[in-house]
Symmetry: C2
Subunit: 192 residues, 2 copies
DNA sequence: TCAGCCATGTAATGGGTTACATGATTGA
DNA sequence: TCAATCATGTAACCCATTACATGGCTGA
């Protein structure tokens, strides 16, 4: 029986604790929704993963569980952060990270092998990517607008807004890159 | 016995087929190395995953396997793409993608909860991120330089180089974003 | 001379995804 | 009225990661 040399990070657990730290009791379902509108842009646990992690954080004493009977809807269990959970969250937050981020891109993977495709097919792919990047940008900017209208980005909204600016910068960068690339691909087409 | 509604994409299989399409027989070990220096920047299968997928592509008739006895090193098995494999690869390449890319960022996740940290801790995190982004940028630019010296980015190098320009753009964008953010965080510190 | 890397993989574990279930509301 | 959506989860599977093995080089 050997000890694991590297403990699993369980970042998803902490993502959940973080949402619970906002102060309200949340059910698994609530958390699924909460993730979608917030950390979901750079952290995307599956539904069932959230439920699994909830069991775990309860077993570790990081959250407590409470049954809430409901009449019209299925009964639910809501979760509350414990002081131990707050400590654990804080420790994790301060702790070091290996890779700050990693990109997983089917698009780039395919583009890497672009020589196996016709030029038009490649162009289609890049166009698709550009549209996607544009739509993400629009989405982010809409959220930015909303924040502006609801108290601005000072105070409690500050750090969520900061991550949003990252998304905006990144998306804009993707749009510009794909526009340059498209231009280059068109030019190549001119001289066959 | 239900049919799966959504077939697994198995993108990793195709990443491997793509590398095998470069024309040379490669062993699992070779592929691990090949991935590191190429698609590894946006697609990172684990070693053992590569070996697993190799078995699979052979069983599907997409590649053939050949034993190569060696004296000083462990014997190895090398793999070759079959015509069926080429077809499969081409079909996959032309096929549609849902999400062109997704970012998974522990850094952003923590930053989102920045209000739970002291400002200095946040600044430390962002500094770390900036250094990471800078180092990635330097790495990419070094590769760019190398490509320039070895025949430039026309011809067969073109698409790999294109993906590299994405990496450069993205990293540069990360550096600039973090610099802006640091400035803002410093300013906030001035008025406590 | 001995730790660490090269070279080649296999085994065990676990995180995350898709699919399965179920009943009430609501909009077209 | 009937499909979609809300609301709440569970079960099964599979992909991917970490750990385990093994023996020859090579540099300090």
């Amino acid at each position: 029986m050997k000890a694991r040399l590297k403990a699993p990070t369980r970042d998803t657990s902490f993502a959940i604790l973080g949402l619970l730290s906002m102060g309200q009791e949340l059910s698994g379902y609530d958390l699924v929704k909460a993730v979608e509108g917030s950390v979901g842009f750079f952290w995307t646990p599956a539904k069932s993963q959230i439920y699994a992690e909830l069991k775990r954080v309860v077993s570790l004493g990081w959250a407590t569980e409470r049954e809430v009977p409901q009449s019209n809807r299925p009964d639910k269990r809501v979760y509350t952060l414990t002081p131990e959970g707050q400590d654990a969250l804080h420790t994790w937050l301060k702790g070091p990270d290996e890779e700050p981020e990693d990109i997983k891109s089917v698009f780039l993977l395919k583009l890497f092998y672009g020589h196996l495709l016709d030029r038009e097919d490649v162009i289609a792919k890049v166009l698709e990517y550009r549209e996607w990047a544009r739509s993400m940008l629009a989405r982010y900017e809409a959220i930015d607008q909303l924040i502006d209208e609801h108290g601005g980005h000072e105070g409690p909204q500050f750090y969520p807004w900061v991550t949003l600016t990252y998304g905006i910068a990144h998306a804009r960068c993707g749009v510009e890159w794909s526009e340059r690339l498209l231009q280059e691909l068109e030019e190549k087409g001119g001289k066959p």
